[in-house]
Symmetry: C2
Subunit: 219 residues, 2 copies
């Protein structure tokens, strides 16, 4: 028979999955908005922020309730505190999507500039990291979480290449400085999303292995 | 007589204060390194990262120990979980200092460029926010925490002004594009430190008032 505590843990996992879906969708929409110069998508991202914030509070309250129950086992304790941290990271992923949407609104107000970069490819990699990090939580799979850490290196590389391309564009074509800067800042927002996915993966590894691998991750 | 739990809480507060001091110092050193083009200070920041990371782990373990003790009261539960989140924010303040130091190393390798901005002023405001947010935690003072949220608006304004100044410099003087971009990215790192201080202040308010003001903060 399942205890009330077990049921609470399951609910916590389900809510985190839902939260992660909302955060990923926001990032995808914001990047699509950049690609298609589509202000309606920006609006959806801005409007969706509140739902993400409400979900964050719900998850926090649920986690606090679980902690208040009598003496959870050490491994459960670590799971619940990891869930609270992961929750905060997902909310900040949503914030990054909002930052991207705001940047897109700015860039759409400027003349369109041809820039030799592939932001959707980076966004796809980054969304994949968020998704995999949550999957690794649900599956309690430290190896899957470890794979997320390796994906972060790929994203860092994409970001560095884009950075050089865009700085060169700013240098050579002063008339596109603002558009190139917008693209560069969006790339950095995506990199921050990847950092949050990395934090989540590290929290999963910490919980699953019971050992703290943060700051010792394979790089 | 003080209980073992109370002693643990006091130790947790002391360690968080120490952690905050380390993180602030790293930010101050990194900004000073920018101002003085001083690579030795960058080196100190890079070397200091490990101590901050070790402290983060210590604080997390202490918090988990406290949660594992028999049935802490609801208010204490909220304090300990807030402490874990604040701990994560302080560690990321340290990461920002490292990012700034790396950016300074890049900019020092380039010819010096005269740029009409005042990064140390922004850094001073940002360090003040981190310091005040921790003071508000120790004093359990929600009003002081609220003041940190208002300081964030000032920092945002400084950042926006600097942004416009630097974009204009990039546009008008292609030969300083890279130096201006370095300054712009450092300003954004400082803004992220301010965001972490804001997160901390919100966690303090959440704990002190027992009500969730996150996302409803006075702006």
């Amino acid at each position: 028979m399942r205890t009330r505590f077990q049921q609470g843990l399951d609910e916590l996992k389900q809510k985190l999955l839902a939260m992660s879906g909302m955060a990923e969708q926001a990032v995808d929409r914001a990047t699509q908005a950049y690609q298609e110069r589509e202000l309606k998508l920006c609006q959806l991202v801005l409007e969706g922020e509140q739902a993400i914030n409400m979900m964050e509070r719900e998850i926090d309250e649920l986690a606090l309730d679980l902690l208040a129950m009598q003496q959870p086992m050490a491994v459960d304790l670590r799971f619940v505190t990891a869930a609270m941290k992961i929750n905060a990271d997902l909310e900040r992923v949503g914030d990054q999507a909002v930052n991207i949407a705001e940047r897109v609104i700015n860039t759409v107000s400027l003349p369109e500039a041809e820039l030799p970069i592939d932001l959707p490819r980076m966004a796809g990699a980054v969304s994949g990291m968020v998704r995999r990090s949550l999957q690794s939580l649900i599956a309690a799979d430290a190896e899957m979480a470890q794979a997320v850490l390796q994906m972060d290196d790929v994203v860092d590389r994409m970001n560095r290449e884009m950075f050089h391309t865009l700085v060169k564009a700013m240098h050579d074509r002063p008339e596109v400085v603002q558009q190139a800067l917008d693209a560069l800042l969006i790339a950095r927002n995506l990199e921050r999303v990847a950092d949050h996915a990395t934090n989540i993966a590290e929290d999963v590894i910490f919980w699953v292995r019971g050992a703290d691998v943060r700051h010792h991750a394979a790089t």
